[in-house]
């Protein structure tokens, strides 16, 4: 025997409406808090997506990187030991291709050494990839990006803008690349500047070189690769495909180690870590402000209605039912505030996106766009969390009130 939920909600809603002004102030504070939270979250969502594409496509990390076990730890010390020679590369490529969900298998070589223009030389650090793989990795969406290797031109490399400036190299200029081969000999190959492209990061732009795989193989005296980058049909299938790859490679007799793009992109991990901390901080502040407002409102509402609480208990309402009335009241206020916040977020988010605001982020040589990408699921999560917190925030003052004696509550003026 107890009051129906519909009746409880009706009573709670009437009481919210009775104190219109007070309720409105709280609704507004929740709405503004929600708005701040959603806009930050929407901005971070956008940044994460851009950084993710930047890592997968821009840094050419693909989704998964397959190496011989031990390469990630000791590969630089002993490159020869962890190399995939032609046979190993062929085995890995064939095995990986058979796994469902795999779209592209792209062998790579890390490259570093000296670049010379005939008079001076300068350090270069970069990577080698085949022009076809680069094209496939970029797809149509990112085909426009600069720094493209030209298919069929196996001596044309891409170099950083700053490096080109330091070395006085222009597009079409000839130069020499020098490095030590796998067997430890010094080797040199001629190359041509195919394209000059800014890497977007001041830290790398002065030493970056992207070589065609064939050129790098010639430089290093290699017929294979040091790792194989795998691109899947969808980024979401990484957790499903990764163990299958490991298993199949093992069965094929290759002891592999596989890392995901997010593990390899230090930049992504660091920026995300920083932004996640910022978001957490903002969330804590917003939630505290909103909940203080709710506790305040509910404490006032409960104090004002002490005698009503006594009356309801006298006529047979159980304490738990009374507490539920106040909990519903708090949840209504926060729910309405959150809905208003959601509407405001969509409106203001759209406004910000329309305004096409740009800014220059740290360590970046290009302007970045300020875009808000609102996800309904995230906002629903905030709404749910805030509503649960509102229930808790209303429960305690209500419990305090129902712990009074009925006679004491009835005598309250």
């Amino acid at each position: 025997m107890s009051m129906s939920l519909a009746m409880r909600c009706k009573l709670a809603a009437r009481n919210v409406m009775k104190n219109r002004r007070r309720s409105l102030v709280t609704v507004l504070s929740v709405a503004i808090g929600f708005l701040a939270l959603s806009l930050f979250e929407g901005y971070f969502t956008y940044v994460y997506r851009i950084l993710k594409d930047q890592a997968i496509v821009g840094e050419r990390l693909g989704h998964l990187t397959v190496v011989r076990r031990g390469f990630f730890d000791q590969g630089t010390l002993d490159p020869e030991k962890f190399q995939l020679d032609a046979a190993a590369l062929d085995l890995v490529t064939r095995t990986v291709r058979q796994v469902p969900g795999v779209k592209l298998v792209s062998p790579r070589l890390a490259v570093s050494g000296l670049v010379s223009n005939g008079t001076t030389s300068h350090i270069f650090i970069g990577e080698a990839i085949s022009a076809e793989d680069q094209k496939a990795l970029r797809g149509t969406e990112y085909a426009y990006l600069p720094g493209k290797l030209a298919p069929g031109q196996d001596d044309a490399a891409v170099i950083g803008q700053k490096m080109a400036k330091i070395m006085g190299l222009q597009q079409g200029s000839d130069g020499v690349l020098m490095a030590s081969t796998l067997s430890g000999m010094v080797n040199a190959v001629d190359f041509r500047v195919g394209e000059i492209a800014n890497t977007g990061s001041m830290g790398t732009d002065d030493k970056f070189a992207l070589l065609p795989l064939a050129l790098a193989r010639k430089l290093y005296g290699s017929d294979g690769a040091d790792r194989v980058v795998v691109v899947l049909d969808a980024v979401d299938s990484i957790p499903a495909v990764k163990p299958v790859l490991l298993e199949k490679l093992k069965a094929a007799g290759f002891d592999a180690d596989i890392k995901e793009w997010s593990e390899l992109s230090v930049y992504y991990t660091q920026v995300k870590g920083l932004f996640d901390m910022m978001y957490l901080f903002i969330m804590v502040v917003v939630v505290m402000v909103a909940m203080t407002s709710v506790v305040n409102t509910m404490t006032m509402a409960i104090a004002e209605r002490t005698r009503e609480i006594g009356t309801l208990r006298a006529i047979g309402m159980r304490s738990m039912t009374i507490k539920s009335l106040f909990v519903i009241e708090g949840v209504i206020i926060v729910f309405v505030g959150s809905l208003a916040g959601m509407a405001l977020s969509y409106a203001i988010g759209a406004g910000i996106n329309l305004a096409q605001i740009t800014y220059s982020p740290p360590d970046s040589s290009e302007q970045a766009a300020l875009v808000i990408e609102l996800l309904f699921n995230n906002m629903f999560g905030s709404l749910f969390t805030l509503s649960v917190l509102a229930a808790v925030a209303s429960y305690f003052p209500a419990r305090h009130a129902t712990q009074k004696t009925i006679v004491g509550a009835l005598g309250h003026v």
């Binding site: 025997m1 107890s2 009051m3 129906s4 519909a6 009746m7 009573l11 009437r14 009481n15 409406m17 009775k18 005698r307 009503e308 009356t311 309801l312 208990r313 006298a314 006529i315 047979g316 309402m317 159980r318 304490s319 738990m320 039912t321 004696t405 009925i406 006679v407 009835l410």
Partner: protein, 236 residues
């Protein structure tokens, strides 16, 4: 003689503890019979409210026994007590104590809804009862849109809607003018006769004594007089 509907035995009640404790009721014994229309009267501070609160199971005595309809009620926990009040007791308060955000009809429905009865049954019964009390034109008014007398009649409807065995009214007329006071007491008297509900009301207004069938005088927490009257004033 039939079993009393309310039986208080050796009731002791004090407020506060230690040296500051005030003994309000000392070894009080009282029985109320089914269907009685009883007035508990005495000066302010004599202990009437304390006594009514104990009978209404709103408070617990320090010592003694309370039986309502032969049930020992003091062993019940707070939830069981609430359920017991909901089934067997009705309350009328000095300041009406209607829920401000509910209409007359909704206030009247409340005790039935607390018991979990269906809304439409509750609504229909509240409407019929309010009509019986002459409030058919005020069903949808909120308490602040009604006069004191109207509000107290809504409160009477709320006390009676659940067909309680006993209605307890602490100073039901103290916030009303004398014409409204008389009307309210007469209405209670009429409902007592018609529905055979036991009424116990407390007042410091000796003028109302003439409406009661039984009057119990309290002084300093003790019953000093207890008599049955033929009604001096009666509803026609």
């Amino acid at each position: 003689m039939t079993q009393p509907i309310i039986k208080l035995e050796h009731i002791t009640k004090s407020y506060g503890h230690g040296d500051g404790a005030v003994n309000v009721l000392q070894d009080l014994n009282l029985s109320i019979q089914q269907g009685e229309f009883t007035c508990i009267w005495g000066a302010s501070g004599s202990g009437k409210s304390t006594l009514l609160n104990l009978m209404g199971l709103l408070d617990r005595p320090d010592q003694g026994r309370i039986a309502i309809k032969n049930a020992e009620v003091l062993g019940l926990n707070d939830n069981r007590l609430a359920d017991f009040r909901s089934r067997h007791l009705g309350f009328i308060f000095q300041s009406f104590n209607l829920v401000p955000v509910l209409s007359a009809q909704e206030n009247t429905m409340l005790p039935l809804q607390i018991r979990g009865e269906a809304d439409d049954t509750a609504r229909r019964r509240a409407r019929d009862l309010l009509a019986e009390l002459g409030l058919e034109r005020h069903l949808h008014k909120r308490p602040d849109e009604m006069s004191g007398g109207q509000r107290q009649r809504v409160a009477i409807a709320r006390a009676l809607i659940g067909d309680p065995d006993i209605v307890l009214a602490d100073e039901p007329t103290a916030n009303l003018d004398s014409a409204n006071s008389d009307a309210i007491i007469l209405l209670m008297q009429k409902l007592n006769q018609k529905r055979k509900v036991t009424f116990v009301f407390a007042t410091h207004d000796t003028h109302l004594l003439s409406y009661a069938a039984r009057s119990i005088q309290v002084r300093d927490g003790r019953i000093v007089d207890d008599r049955h009257n033929t009604y001096l004033k009666e509803a026609s």
